[in-house]
């Protein structure tokens, strides 16, 4: 590393001085190179005075100002040890930077997130939840899961895990603007670059020559800064680059992080629908083609996430609204198969030896979700895939959110993992600053990786397992699945740990 520095300096020196003596000194031994470097420092110092356009490096450049990138900015802005940092946010989204006011009467956005109690408490910690509460949001404390075979169903209650809510469904634009408003309310030094990242260099190539000898350039040449070039032709320097730029992360590609993953041959159709009554429960039914979820959004609105094969998805998108509403009601009610029986005698016997509580109270019985009366937004279709970066961090670069791990939206966990990343990274940066570390130091960033990777991999494995278990339509498996439902329904400790994990607690299900 330092050998490289010396070489770079040598290049700079010869460039500046064209001095044979210096070269000779460099060949003469390391002491001589040190001598040269001191002279270079002097030289740089002189240059700094003559150059008026000295570029000031940022502490952190967040590439991607979406929900996760903004959560990082928000956490940094509200933590005593990090609020002094000078941060650049690079995002070509024109909406960013101008304070968008969201009105409660605005039509609901189809893109929503189910935030877990863990995420809610992180938002409260940074003071952003109060802004969410000013907008449309829907807490739910009940989740009913069943499948089309009519063999089983299960209900999860927040009280089972001693919580008030299982989660809260919030439109993405509300989460984003809440975080942004919170940052705006602090005196955090942030600069928004409405541009795209085109090039990132962490270690200048050995052939590069130093054109301008500002101190910033010198620091960059010596590996103390990363250089980012933007699509608008400008460039900037930062001690740390955070890739929060989504599943197709440019930062991840430019940094050369490898990924593993696969596409599911499935698409998710997403839209907002309206009921005649307010929906207060989250619903999920497994159909032959994949699960359909109905999530309460507040104000008689619900969000639909319906997984199916790409052809069906295309049909669903193109069919007329009335047909689509019919299809949704069909899928959430009698379509594909009967309702599960409320009396579970046979299967209850099957599990009685496990010691489950077999008394089913009235409100524990199977319920039919409220009818959808009309479509309230456009329908969107996204291909489902799973992707995980092999590394989250290297010197001066770190990935958060979907840039590090993308999951399908089965349990709405994707963004919660991303928020978990953002807040963990902010905390670890604060820990580094507390002991005077360079925030781009790989040992510090690896600490973040070591903390987040197991959490993310576990959740991804669970979701992938779910996906696999429910995307296969095969008789015996259906029965097993139904049995698992009954199991989960009756064996309280197991059920508790499943919900606990899904609501963002860092405990492994089954083994806690």
């Amino acid at each position: 590393m330092n050998r490289a520095i010396t070489r770079k300096l040598a290049a700079a020196a010869t460039n500046a001085y064209q001095s044979k003596v210096l070269r000779k000194n460099l060949c003469g031994g390391a002491n001589a190179s040190a001598a040269t470097s001191t002279q270079i420092n002097n030289h740089i110092h002189e240059d700094k005075q003559s150059f008026t356009h000295t570029v000031h490096p940022y502490d952190i450049a967040i590439v991607g100002g979406g929900m996760v990138g903004m959560a990082l900015a928000c956490s940094l802005a509200t933590t005593p040890l990090t609020k002094h940092l000078n941060v650049a946010i690079i995002d070509s989204n024109p909406a960013l930077g101008s304070k968008v006011s969201i009105k409660k009467e605005d039509p609901p956005d189809p893109r929503v997130s189910t935030v877990t109690p863990a995420t809610i408490s992180l938002f409260k910690d940074v003071g952003a939840w109060q802004y969410v509460q000013q907008h449309r949001h829907a807490y739910f404390d009940k989740l009913q899961v069943w499948d089309y075979t009519g063999l089983g169903y299960t209900k999860y209650y927040a009280k089972d895990v001693n919580k008030d809510v299982l989660g809260c469904v919030v439109e993405n634009k509300v989460l984003h603007s809440s975080l942004f408003s919170r940052v705006e309310d602090t005196d955090f030094q942030k600069t928004i670059h409405p541009s795209r990242l085109t090039l990132m260099s962490l270690h200048p190539s050995s052939s590069s020559t130093v054109e301008s000898s500002s101190s910033t350039e010198a620091s960059y040449v010596n590996g103390c800064l990363a250089k980012l070039e933007l699509s608008d032709g400008s460039s900037l320097y930062a001690k740390l680059v955070v890739g929060a730029d989504g599943a197709k992360s440019q930062v991840r590609q430019l940094a050369g992080f490898k990924t593993t993953g696969w596409n599911y041959s499935q698409n998710a159709v997403i839209c907002t629908v309206e009921h005649s009554v307010e929906n207060q429960c989250a619903w999920q039914r497994f159909l032959p083609g994949g699960p359909i979820a109905l999530l309460p959004m507040g104000d008689k609105f619900s969000n639909i996430v319906w997984t199916m094969n790409p052809k069906e998805a295309a049909d669903c998108k193109s069919m007329n609204e009335d047909d689509f509403v019919k299809a949704v009601n069909h899928a959430l009610d009698y379509g594909y198969g009967p309702h599960p029986k409320s009396s579970l005698l046979a299967s209850a016997d099957m599990f009685s030896w496990l010691g489950g509580n077999l008394v089913i109270s009235a409100n524990d019985s199977f319920e039919v979700p409220p009818k959808v009366v009309k479509l309230a937004s456009a329908r969107m279709a996204f291909p489902l895939s799973l992707m995980h970066a092999k590394d989250y961090a290297s010197r001066r670069v770190v990935l958060i959110g979907d840039a590090a791990h993308a999951v399908h939206p089965l349990a709405g966990q994707g963004v919660n993992l991303g928020f978990g990343d953002a807040f963990a990274l902010s905390r670890i940066i604060a820990e580094g600053i507390a002991v005077g570390m360079d925030i781009g130091e790989v040992s510090l960033l690896k600490k973040y990786e070591a903390e987040r990777k197991p959490a993310n991999v576990t959740m991804m494995a669970i979701l992938d397992g779910f996906q696999k278990a429910y995307s296969v339509d095969f008789g015996p498996l259906n029965i097993l699945r139904a049995a698992a439902f009954h199991g989960a329904h009756h064996i309280s400790p197991l059920k508790r740990s499943i919900i606990s994990y899904a609501s963002g607690e860092q405990r492994l299900p089954l083994f806690s």
Partner: protein, 307 residues
Amino acid sequence: MASKLLTKLGAIRDPKIARNPNLPLNATRRLFSHRPISTPPHSPPSSPPDNGKSAHKKSKPTSSLKDLELAKFSAIADSWWDSVGPFKPLHAMNPTRLAFLRSTLCRHFRKDPHVARPFEGLKIVDVGCGGGILSEPLARMGATVTGIDALEKNINIARLHAGLDPVTSTIEYCCTTAEKLVKEQKMFDAVIALEVIEHVADPTEFCKSLSALTHPGGATVISTINRSMRSYATAIVAAEYLLHWLPIGTHQWSSFLTPEELVLILQRASINVKEMAGFVYNPLTGRWSLSDDISVNFIAFGTKNGQ
């Protein structure tokens, strides 16, 4: 267990020693106790022969040894800032040492520990600064830092690296010794000498010098290796004889100080040790943490009696 020993040893291995495997201990000692410097602190040596000259002045037994030493220094000094290089153990231990310094110094000087630069306004000297891996974090934490080291090569590396960041470029690096600073009547709010005392010829004199550099009411912090059975097993037997991580004779176990001895020596130099902690390594996480176990690596925080 073996891996634990191994990793412990990594940290014990002192850079100042580890970098000259063939250097007899007494030579190193001389280096630390006399450390006469020919060049003024801030002017860089003008040419390689000058280094040769200063080498002779550093009272080395023979010039050939010095050449060998120089070659080794230049080979390894480049890696001072390579956090996965030969100084990896020191880099790994650094946050823990700094956490101790942060908590003790903030408490003593009544600084707010919840800010990014709590040491603002404190003058601190880092005795035996090496490549500056302690000096730079201290500067980032707001201190006005002076880094001193007897080896010109270290000082040059430290200066070069610190110059890259405007925050750390304020560090004043001098190729000098604690004794020499005393003669110059320099005084500091806090005097820090980490992993140094086990290499000096006369710890008592060394502590007196550190005390003389400390303002009355100021703080002195020293870290070193205990003279315990465990440190004998880890630092001497395993590191030098079994694993050959260090050349035989690198550390002289008998010259290590026990915490009790260090407290006594410091007391005689009018420094009262107020706090002490051990560093323990967790081989599973690869991280060091502070603990009550002072049987191998330990750090002591003392304050100098007021007038």
